[in-house]
């Protein structure tokens, strides 16, 4: 337990992805079974452990601590589990500290009262960090900035494997993952998942760079629309149906309107959208569904989900990934005819004569829920990852706006000493004349050199500090690029940009010449 506690503690503070990976890999290599399996489950959000309510923790600590002292302490620390971990007055005990691997099973099936007693006795055996980790584990709130994907990547790195090899079997495995570790350590074969609805790593497209077009033999490619939704995989095998995000996160629970209607067996690839009366709704509508763990009936009615299919990986248990695209496409069409799956349709093949026609199609994307075009080589087999060459995404040009920098905040990780997160605004008519209203935030799109100069500019032009945030004089224009703009009641300006980033820093431009809010409103889809 203590090793896991120290891992969690360090992960909490580690700003860099690489640091997190190393910390976890070190742990996975050296911690014993079944502890490391339980740790993996906890980090990947896959651990089912009898949960303790905050009220139970509070009751435990109040039995031992003076209420006033606890009150002052809690005010200072600001977190119940942490306060309890730090303040806990240990009583001498003969018990040994619990091993992480035994915690879920020891708690399993206990009444709340019995669980509370066991947790109390464990608290006496641990130090403050150990108690903190235990309380986070049993209250179900790790929050150390690790995604399931990152935990699996660390596991792969620990044993010199590809993360996709782990993804291929992940969803068929259960904590404490004994067979997974056996395979990773070379003691057994890779577990067989052919009969399970596991996630199959996706094939991804590269952005089409300038110059690519001239080199491509367009006759070898087919085009499809690139829809403004999220990429998903729907897997069904042996009665088990799962919906996975691009990174393999299981999002089935949020989309019963898709999952419950599946009657086919196979694995399909497509774009998840919200669609009403055959019309694709703006991305914002989908966002509403994605933000929820559980979905209300009302949500299901107002924001019906839909999948636009563009590939097939498995028909039943037949693996089609080594077939060329055109053959897979044929199999997909026949599959859909045969199975008639609900809430789906087929991604249209966009015909084009030549490059000019293709460009015109792409430029016409604006205003609809289209982000641009996909180009897929006719002979491309389905390869996990992002191979260079077979698939391209060709996004329409971004929109841009000249804005004025209003606030800056320090970044994270390597950038923690730089002011690298910027809030920018556009002009509007206020009561006392023109005023700036914030329209977005951006923290990318500049070079390291530019960042240095921006940082210096912020420090030299600060007018007010609010904790980590600095308000700056209105003196710098930035041309921001963004993919689209939507109405938003959550923003003071009433609009929200999608993917805003720096396009150009206009050191030269007078702030009065920056754009007005109305220009942005005109771009709303």
């Amino acid at each position: 337990m203590l090793r896991f506690a120290h891992l969690l503690d360090r992960l909490l503070y580690a700003p860099q992805r690489n640091t997190k990976l190393k910390l976890m890999a070190d742990y996975f290599r050296s911690a014993p079974d079944p502890d490391r399996g339980i740790a993996l489950a906890a980090l990947a959000g896959a651990l089912e452990v009898k949960s303790a309510k905050p009220s139970m923790i509070r009751a435990l600590v109040m039995q031992r601590v003076d209420p006033e002292l606890f009150g002052w302490s809690y005010d200072f620390v600001g977190d119940l589990a942490e306060t309890t971990a730090l303040i806990w007055p240990e009583r001498p005990t003969n018990r040994a500290a619990p091993a992480l691997g035994e915690i879920p099973s020891e708690l399993d099936g206990l009444s709340a009262a019995a669980a509370s007693e066991v947790i109390e006795s464990w608290l006496d055996t641990l130090d403050a960090t150990g108690r903190w980790a235990l309380l986070k584990l049993v209250t179900g709130g790790m929050r150390v900035g690790v995604s399931a994907r990152l935990a699996k990547t660390a596991l792969a790195e620990a044993f010199g494997r590809e993360v996709d090899e782990i993804e291929e079997i992940w969803h068929g495995l259960e904590p404490p993952y004994g067979e997974l570790f056996d395979w990773l350590e070379g003691q057994s074969d890779q577990p067989d998942m052919s009969q399970r609805a596991v996630f199959r790593p996706l094939m991804l497209a590269n952005p089409l760079e300038e110059g690519d077009l001239a080199r491509l033999d367009l006759s070898q490619y087919v085009a499809e629309w690139k829809w403004d939704g999220i990429r998903v995989q729907i897997a069904s095998r042996g009665g088990e149906v799962r919906l996975y995000s691009r990174t393999g996160d299981d999002i089935s629970a949020a989309f019963p309107d898709i999952v419950d209607l599946v009657s086919f067996e196979g694995v399909l690839d497509g774009e998840l959208l919200v669609q009403r009366d055959g019309e694709v709704a703006p991305f914002n509508d989908l966002q509403q569904r994605l933000n929820r763990k559980r979905v209300t009936r009302r949500m299901l009615q107002d924001h019906p989900a839909h999948i636009r299919l563009y590939d097939i990986l498995f028909d039943g248990d037949e693996d089609l990934r080594s077939l060329p695209f055109t053959e897979r496409r044929g199999r997909l069409e026949r599959f859909l005819e045969r199975e008639q799956p609900e809430r789906t349709d087929l991604s249209e093949i966009v015909n084009f004569e030549d490059l000019e026609a293709l460009e015109a199609l792409r430029d016409a994307c604006r205003g609809e829920q289209l982000e641009g075009l996909m180009l897929k080589r006719r002979d491309s087999v389905y390869i996990a990852g992002r191979p260079k060459g077979p698939w391209f995404k060709w996004k329409r040009d971004a929109l841009t706006l000249d804005t004025v920098v209003m606030y800056a905040q320090r970044g994270h990780g390597k950038r923690s000493s730089f002011y690298s997160d910027f809030t920018f605004g556009a002009w509007r008519e206020g009561e006392g004349g023109p005023e700036l209203v914030p329209v977005g935030k951006a923290y990318s799109g500049f070079t390291d050199e530019e960042l240095k100069r921006l940082d210096k500019w912020v420090r030299d032009n600060t007018v007010q500090r609010y904790g980590p945030v600095r308000e700056v004089a209105h003196g710098l224009v930035v041309e921001v690029a963004f993919d689209s703009v939507h109405r938003s009641s959550r923003h003071k300006s009433g609009v929200a940009m999608r993917f805003p980033r720096f396009h150009r820093i206009r050191w030269d431009k007078p702030v009065e010449e920056a754009d007005r809010l109305e220009s942005l409103e005109k771009l709303i889809v």
Binding site: R10, Y13, D66, L69, F76, E82, I87, A128, S416, S417
Partner: protein, 341 residues
């Protein structure tokens, strides 16, 4: 000892600080005064500009190092255990275990004994003399970590965490934020005690006091400047090394030139995660030169004073806990002391 109507009524709280009235001197005044007794060299306790200053020789030397050759009018060195009389008040200095030269001030007047602790800690520290409890009528204590959530872990565990991180990230530079007086030297001595004998690299602000410690016979091993040449910027070849710097330098421009630094901070405040995260610290090390909660309470028991005054820190909790022990307690609410931890 007869119980007075009010204990130690000869000591008063003034805007300048704690005044020993019949003696005509202050202890650790926060403004310049005629005559002062100084517990230790931290800037908030040892301000420059007093007329006459009595303190341990090490504290006087620290003040000279920090403020130049004339930090006060006249300095009166007072060895531990030596007793002097200032206008009829007997004054003796006893080790406080906080930093080099740090002392408690034992005051006696008309049969009453008052001990002003200054800042103190109770755990062993190879860089200064250890705290000695002195039985007294009134104990004047600090309460920097006066909340029961502050219970410092064993120092060796924190150093082990640092060493584990070094093994895990051998190519990165570990830069540790640390106060220049006391914490830096103790940290170095703890690192040395863990068997680390590579050179340690110091930000320029830490060098004079480390030199002073070594001149006072505290062995810190090989120390090298972390800066080279132009304008105090870090040298470029510090991959895999340990660098010590003042807290203000670690999160700012100075640390940027270090090779992929792991930013660490050694302080009792690192116990609270929110505090550590706010400071942008990647590797918090809970190492403090102040008594933690358990040690504060232990000290109240050890000195056995029927009355306790709390000078600075989180007074209310310590006053509350002292009263629960049947000790009379009050907060003096002295202003001007900082939260160095």
């Amino acid at each position: 000892m007869a119980r007075a109507a009010r204990r130690a009524s000869w000591i008063r709280v003034r805007p300048e600080g704690l005044l020993v009235e019949p003696g005509g001197f202050y202890v650790d005044p926060t403004r310049a005064v005629e005559r002062a007794v100084i517990t230790h060299g931290h800037a908030d306790h040892a301000r420059p500009g007093h007329g006459a200053v009595a303190a341990t020789p090490a504290t006087l030397a620290i003040m000279r190092t920090r403020y130049g050759e004339t930090p006060f009018g006249t300095g009166q060195p007072l060895a531990f255990g030596e007793t002097i009389s200032i206008n009829g008040v007997s004054v003796r200095l006893v080790p406080a275990g906080h930093v080099l030269g740090s002392a408690q001030v034992v005051l006696e007047y008309k049969g009453e004994r008052v001990v002003v602790s200054g800042d103190y800690k109770r755990r062993p520290d190879r860089t200064c003399a250890g705290f000695e409890p002195v039985p007294c009528d009134v104990f004047v204590t600090e309460a920097t970590f006066g909340l029961p959530v502050f219970r410092h872990p064993p120092d060796e565990d924190e150093i082990a965490t640092l060493m584990h991180s070094r093994r895990l990230f051998p190519e990165r530079c570990h830069v540790i934020g640390t106060y220049s007086l006391g914490k830096a030297q103790r940290l170095i001595s703890l690192i040395r005690a863990a068997g680390y004998d590579r050179p340690l690299y110091l930000h320029g602000a830490l060098i004079p006091l480390c030199d002073l410690y070594q001149a006072h016979g505290v062995d810190l091993g090989e120390l090298l400047p972390a800066t080279a040449g132009e304008k105090g910027k870090p040298r470029a070849d510090l991959s895999g090394e340990i660098v010590l710097a003042p807290p203000s330098a670690i999160a700012d421009r100075w640390a940027r030139r270090l090779p992929d630094p792991v930013v660490a901070m050694a302080s009792g405040w690192m116990r609270v995660k929110q505090r550590a995260k706010q400071g942008g610290v990647e590797l918090p090390l809970v190492i403090s030169d102040h008594a933690d909660w358990d040690e504060l309470l232990q000290t109240l028991d050890d000195v056995g004073a029927p009355e306790v005054w709390v000078t600075h820190g989180r007074e209310e909790a310590l006053v509350h806990a002292a009263r629960q022990k049947g000790i009379e307690a009050k907060a003096l609410r002295l202003l001007g002391y900082e939260e160095e931890g």
